[in-house]
Amino acid sequence: MSPADTIAQPALWPLSLIVFLPALVAAVMALPVIPKAREELIRWITLATTVTVFVLSLWMAWPTLFGAVGPAQFTVGEAGMQAVVKRPWIPAFNIDYLLGVDGISMPLVVLTTFLSVLACGASWPITKHVKAYHVLFLLLETGMLGVFVSLDFFLFYVFWEVMLLPMYFLIGIWGGPRREYAAIKFFLYTLFGSVLMLLAILMLYFTSDLRSLSPEQLVASHVVSPALDAAGQADAVAVIRSAKGPIHTFNLLALAQLGQLPNSPFAAVNLWGMSLETWAFLLLLIGFVIKVPVVPVHTWLPDAHVEAPTPISMILAGVLLKLGGYGILRICYPICPGAGLSLAWLVCGLGVVSMVYGAFAALAQKDFKRMVAYSSVSHMGYVMLGLGVWSATAGNEFRWDAWAQGVNGAMFQMLAHGISSAGMFFMVGVLYDRVHHRNLEEFGGIFNRMPVYSGLAVALFFAGLGLPGLCGFIGEVLVTLSSWNYSRVLAVISAFTVILTAAYILWAIQRVYLGGEYKGPHGDHLTPITGRELAIATPLVFLAILFGVAPQLIFNYVTPSVNRQVETLADWTRDIGGKPPQPVAGGPVPAEVTGVR
């Protein structure tokens, strides 16, 4: 047992519980201890689990709410990784059970646990195979939370894939008429992306070598635990640095440190005319942008969203899309900064294209839910643009404030979109539950029949539109402002997209909620909003307004971590003179090494 195993890790239980409690409950529920017929009990158990996880995550994220601050809790305003948990998992490959949160992942964890509670509440109308549904739902929650807290690339990948199967069944069994097609399409797209990601992971792993990191970097990346005393740290560092062969690593923080070395091992290797760094960046980027999704790999999304049941649409839009953005922010850029710098135009371009394309596509939809789905494509385009401008150099001064503005905006946009899109999907679902159709042409006059519902719905749609004072505004404005420094053309386009957004949302509001009288089918089923639905919609509306008027509630968490990452990368860009390092020339291994003639 190495000394690292014995040091106290206060966050081990809280963080592990947040991730694994849903899976644990799912496993117990899957056993035949609770009869299938006790559907109400199953629903309540699931709700209790999600609420527990939400409270736990809130306890971590917002210590002052619960009184005293413990060592396992999150310190707001600190930039670095906190609550790090490290246990050896597969020593043969240096794979660790390495978890941790910082200002980037903590808000996303809370968003996930929060939306899970709401989605669980929104699952009440599900009557088909209730037990199986809730088991899969809880497994999905574990997968999502695991991705946000893993700091080990292998672990990250495992969680990333764990989400796929529950999602496949949730869409495929409880979905709409074309559910099978939508489910397999979702699975195929994502699996294709993750296979590419796996190849990139392997490439990075075998090129990495912990021996090239300084002792400070080893401690900073938690390869050597900072909780050890100085002598213990020195011993652990000496063990690593005196190793005979290279020590590979899956540690995301260490990989980032390696990628940002002036003589980055990833940039030095040349594979078919491009550096390994560029290959890895591209492979990872494809894997992530399929999840975001951006045009042209977005086509799974409208199908999956439309066919999925309402709570699953909420989770899909609210959380799953964020995984892509999170992956780009946490993995692509820090590990492959050189490729990020030289391919910034690609990321920004993809963002702007999906922004515009998604908005036009949304404008053309007749299906209410499909329209909301395309609005997600458009809104996630802002996230891509915000992340992409990061690599830009403002003039030749390598200023980081403009980049930081874009990344902060992208982070805010992800969280805001998590709230507004989940809300929009829920509102569409409420209407669909009553009239069993989603044809925009056949709505109208809902305001007269369901005034409370319509008020809340319009508020959420306005949040999606980006009305000042609501949460959608802040992210869009920050991204657009920061992109001005990168490319005026892109900034102008993204600013004008707001008009398109306004057009499709206002037009939808007009067609659905306004108008004289509802003339579509099942008009007599338009009952007022129920207490359960109100309990789900109100918090979403409340947060949409709260984050619109007090964005610093989110920025307090996000900004320190984002700024530090951006600043580090800005310094890195300055140190290399603004030009990505070139791989050393050299093709396949020369014959005298391999002995083959």
């Binding site: 899957a30 998992w89 597969i90 020593p91 043969a92 490959f93 195979h129 199986a132 990948y157 495992v158 894939e161 764990v162 796929l164 199967l165 496949y168 069944f169 495929g172 069994i173 559910r179 099978e180 397999i184 699975f187 195929l188 699996l191 294709f192 296979v195 590419l196 796996l198 190849l199 392997l202 490439m203 792993y205 075998f206 090129t207 062969g245 290797v269 396949p588 291994v589 014959a591 090494v593 391999t594 002995g595 083959v596 003639r597």
Partner: protein, 553 residues
């Protein structure tokens, strides 16, 4: 040296060295005799042949475990001193005992310990056929153990035949079933052809090299290839090198038949569809494990000379041999994998689908073999990791594929059908079985957190390692891409089975069947739980796989 001392030497070698390290095979042989005796002697008639076989196999497993654990450098549980040598030629060089032998033997014995209860529970064979069935299974397993440890071309041929001949009879064990007899006949004819080709190849190799003993062959090969004035491929059109290349291609054809690698895979779907699911499980798991081990043996035995330093030209010659082997195995792997996955897509019969799935998995395994051979000369550590990846893959494959065939057998007993369409809506009546099927099939796709993912991850990792150091970089890149694409393709057909089980409504005319009684349930659980556990906690098995990898030292 006179005859007397030669004889004494041979006797002492046999009794003191070889036989103690041969006890697993001896136990299997004794079990066969016992099973047959039980049938012959009226006094012992009451004994169930399956239980006798299980008892014998349990002993074999214990010995195999002791051998494995006694190896130097064995991981948990640590032993004070190595009980067996790291590597030892047996019976005058016919066989070799090394970590790979010990690992594969342990795997085969462990497989049998799971397999015999499975056949007892699923009801094939019936009591009447039991003795025949278990004799054949044990005989074939004995041959497979020899395959994994052969160090001599003659032994190789004998072992392959010893594993094959009982398999032919096993395929036809469902007497009076036309499909079964047809499959058996097809298998025999195909197998006989493959054996003939292989034997011809063996005689060509033996004729040119003057020996059948792998290390001596490698030495000869190295000097012939290394001292030829032209490069390997230029020389391959004339003279002894052409004969050698031809001979090795023929040898490879025989091995590819056992592995069901393309283009020698045609028997596999027909045989597995015609034979009982129980036999299919045996052929696709045990036979495959032995064949992969044998492929490793041949490629490493002929392409590498361990121990003493060999001269420059000879070393270069062996590098050429390995290069040739890597391309041969690698291309075969890529084609096998792709064809298996594409052909599986259109299948409607579950056993046929699984047959193509085993073909595809043979492809993934061969990719690992190609990477291991490619790394042999340039990166010994990486080579050991590649062998460990293959060993780990085989270890998890036992549970995945035996689990899949066990499910087919259990479902056949419930539904009286092996068509995928008959599984429609199964989730409503037997949710437990569907969850098990999901675990097994998703593991075969290779998704975390299941064992199949780890296996695939390890093999791909070895290929990536080979890309960075080996001379066969373009081929390795092709393998990586092909492997990745195939993983995505395979998603379709495995998921289709799950889709039918869960999404589709059950057929109207389904007879109300009893839900799984506890014995089949326990069997499936015993096979599926490791698939999940090995996907998360794989350090233990991997440590032993690494031990097996040290055979390439």
């Amino acid at each position: 040296m006179d005859l007397g001392s030669l004889l004494t030497g041979a006797i002492s070698d046999t009794l003191d060295v070889s036989l103690p390290l041969f006890r697993v095979e001896l136990t299997l042989a004794a079990t066969i005799v016992l099973v047959l005796l039980c049938r012959m002697l009226p006094v012992l008639r009451w004994l169930d042949s399956g239980l006798v076989a299980l008892g014998g196999v349990a002993f074999a497993l214990w010995y195999a475990w002791c051998d494995l654990r006694g190896l130097p450098g064995a991981p948990w549980p640590a032993v004070a001193a190595a009980a067996v040598p790291a590597s030892r030629e047996l019976f005058g060089g016919l066989l070799i005992f090394d970590p790979l032998t010990a690992f594969i033997r342990f795997l085969l014995a462990g497989f049998l310990v799971l397999y015999i209860p499975f056949t007892k529970i699923s009801g094939i064979p019936d009591r009447e056929d039991g003795a025949d069935f278990y004799t054949l299974v044990l005989g074939a397993s004995l041959g497979m153990c020899l395959m994994a440890s052969s160090n001599h071309l003659l032994m190789l041929f004998m072992a392959v035949e010893m594993a094959s001949v009982p398999s032919y009879a096993l395929v036809g064990i469902l007497k009076g079933r036309k499909a079964s007899s047809e499959a058996a006949l097809k298998y025999v004819v195909y197998g006989a052809g493959a054996a003939g080709v292989m034997l011809y190849g063996i005689s060509l190799l033996a004729g040119v090299l003057g020996t059948c003993h792998f290390p001596s062959m490698a030495a000869e090969l190295g000097s012939i290839v290394g001292e030829s004035p032209e490069s390997f491929y230029a020389a391959a059109s004339t003279g002894p090198i052409m004969v050698l290349a031809l001979g090795s291609l023929m040898l490879a054809a025989g091995l590819a038949f056992k592995l069901s690698a393309v283009p020698f895979h045609f028997w596999c779907p027909d045989v597995l569809e015609g034979a009982a699911a129980e036999v299919g499980g045996f052929l696709s798991v045990a036979s495959k494990a032995a064949a992969v081990a044998l492929a490793l043996r041949v490629a490493f035995g002929l392409g590498w000379l361990g121990g003493e330093e060999i001269a420059g030209a000879s070393a270069l010659g062996l590098a050429d041999v390995r290069h040739f082997a890597v391309y041969l195995i690698g291309l075969m792997a890529a084609v096998t994998c792709t064809l298996g996955n594409l052909a599986a897509y259109g299948q409607t019969n579950m056993k046929r689908l699984l047959a193509y799935s085993t073909i595809a998995h043979a492809g993934y395994l061969l990719m690992g073999v190609a990477a291991a051979v490619a790394l042999r000369g340039v990166d010994p550590e990486g080579c050991r990791r590649a062998v460990a990846a293959i060993a780990f893959y085989l270890g998890t494959y036992v549970f995945m594929n035996l689990g899949a065939f066990a499910l087919v057998a259990v479902l056949r007993n419930q539904l009286r059908s092996e068509e995928i369409a008959a599984y429609a809506g199964l989730v409503r009546t037997s949710p437990g079985l569907v969850v098990a099927a999901a675990a097994v099939l998703v593991s075969l796709i290779g998704l975390p957190p299941l064992a199949g993912f780890v296996s695939k991850f390890l093999v791909f990792a070895s290929i990536v390692e080979a890309i960075s150091v080996a001379a066969e970089r373009p081929l390795m890149l092709v393998l990586l891409v092909v492997g990745g694409i195939n993983t995505v393709i395979s998603l379709f057909y495995y998921l289709r089975v799950l889709k039918v089980m869960t999404f589709d409504p059950p057929p109207e005319d389904r007879i109300a069947t009893p839900s799984t009684v506890w014995l089949p349930g326990a069997l499936i659980t015993a096979l599926v739980v490791p698939v999940v556990v090995l996907g998360v906690f794989w350090s233990g098995l991997y440590a032993y796989a690494q031990l097996a990898g040290t055979f390439a030292s």
